[in-house]
C-alpha cells in the first residue's frame, strides 16, 4: 500500500470510529445506556480487544515475535501484580511490566 492508500485507509478508520460518537449524540436522551443492546455491543468490544491484546502477547506479529513467550507473559503478570499491590496505579503497573520485559531482553542479548 502506498502513502496515499495509507491516508485513505486512515480516513476510513477515523470515519468508522466517529460513526459511534455521532450516533451516540443522535440517540442520547432517547435510549437507556444500561439496556440490553448496549450489553451485547460492550461484550463484542471487550472480546475483540481482549483477543487483540492476548494475541499481541502470545502470538505477536513483527519484532515482538523474536522475544521468548515466557518474557512477555511473565512481564505482563508482574505489571498486573504491581498495579493491584500499589493501589491500582496504572502508570506504576505499566512501567513495572515494561521494565521487567526490558531487563529480561537485555539479559538475553548479553548472554
Amino acid at each position: 500500500m502506498d502513502e496515499i492508500g495509507l491516508w485513505l485507509l486512515l480516513i476510513l478508520a477515523i470515519g468508522a470510529t466517529y460513526v459511534w460518537r455521532g450516533l451516540g449524540v443522535v440517540i442520547s436522551g432517547r435510549i437507556n445506556p444500561e439496556g440490553e443492546a448496549f450489553k451485547v455491543v460492550s461484550c463484542i468490544a471487550y472480546a475483540l480487544l481482549a483477543g487483540l491484546i492476548s494475541r499481541m502477547i502470545v502470538l505477536p506479529a513483527g519484532t515482538l515475535a523474536e522475544t521468548p513467550v515466557f518474557d512477555r507473559v511473565f512481564s505482563t503478570i508482574v505489571g498486573v501484580g504491581v498495579f493491584f499491590l500499589f493501589k491500582r496505579n496504572v502508570l506504576l503497573g505499566t512501567f513495572s511490566g515494561v521494565a521487567v520485559f526490558f531487563v529480561l531482553s537485555v539479559m538475553r542479548a548479553g548472554s
Partner: protein
Amino acid sequence: MHSKTYRTPGAASAGGVRDAFKVSAWVIFASMMGFGSLARVSGLTLGVSMVSSGAIWGLPGQIAFAELYATGAPVLAIVLAVSLANVRFLPMIVAMMPLFGEGVKNRAWHYVLAQLASVNTWAAAMRVCPHLPHELRAPYYVGFSIVCLLSGLAGTATGFVLAVELPPVVTLSLVFLNPVYFTIVFADVRHRSGVIALLIGAVGGPLFYQVSTDWGLLATGGIGGALAYFVDRILRRRHG
C-alpha cells in the same frame, strides 16, 4: 475532592486543565508513546500516526489499525476491526451527552464534544460535571480534553521518534507497553459480562488468529462477544 466552585467558564476551563495534569495526561502520554513506537515498527508514517491519535482518538482502535496494517489485512477487515474496537464510544456518548444538554444549546457543538471523548475525558466528565452548574460543564470538559489530546499527540510523536533513535531493545519495550497497559486496564474491569467477554476473547484471539490472520480478530469479537453475552444472560437468570 471536587467541591471547588468555579465562578466563570474561564475558571472552569482552567480547572479542567489542572485536573487533567494530575493523572490522565501522564497515563495518556505513556500509552500513546507506546502506540507511537508500535506505529513506527508497523510501517506507519509520523503524519499518519499523529492524525490517528488526534482523530481516531481511541487507543484500542489505533492499535488494531497498526497491527492489522502490519500483518497486511484487507481494508474492510481493518476498518471493521477499528470500528468495533472503538464501539464503546456509542454507550459512553449516550451516557455523557445529557450532562451538556442544558449548558450547550447549539446541538452542532454536541458533535464536537463527542469527538473529544476518550476513556479518560469521559470518566472526568462523568465524575466532575454533575457537580458543576450547567454552563460551566462544557468549559471544564473541553479544558480537560484539550490537555489530554495534546498529551496524546506529544506521546505519539515521542514514541515514534524514539523507536529508531534508541537501541532495538528499548523500541521493543515501548511496543510491549501496549499489551501491558491494556492488560492492566482490563484487569480492573469488574462487571460480570465484561469479565466473561474478556476471558473468552483472550482465549479466542490467538486461536482465531491461527485460523485466519485477516479475519480472526473480527471473529473473536463477534463469536466471542455473542457467546459472552449469552453466558452472562444464563448466569443472570440463575443468580440474578
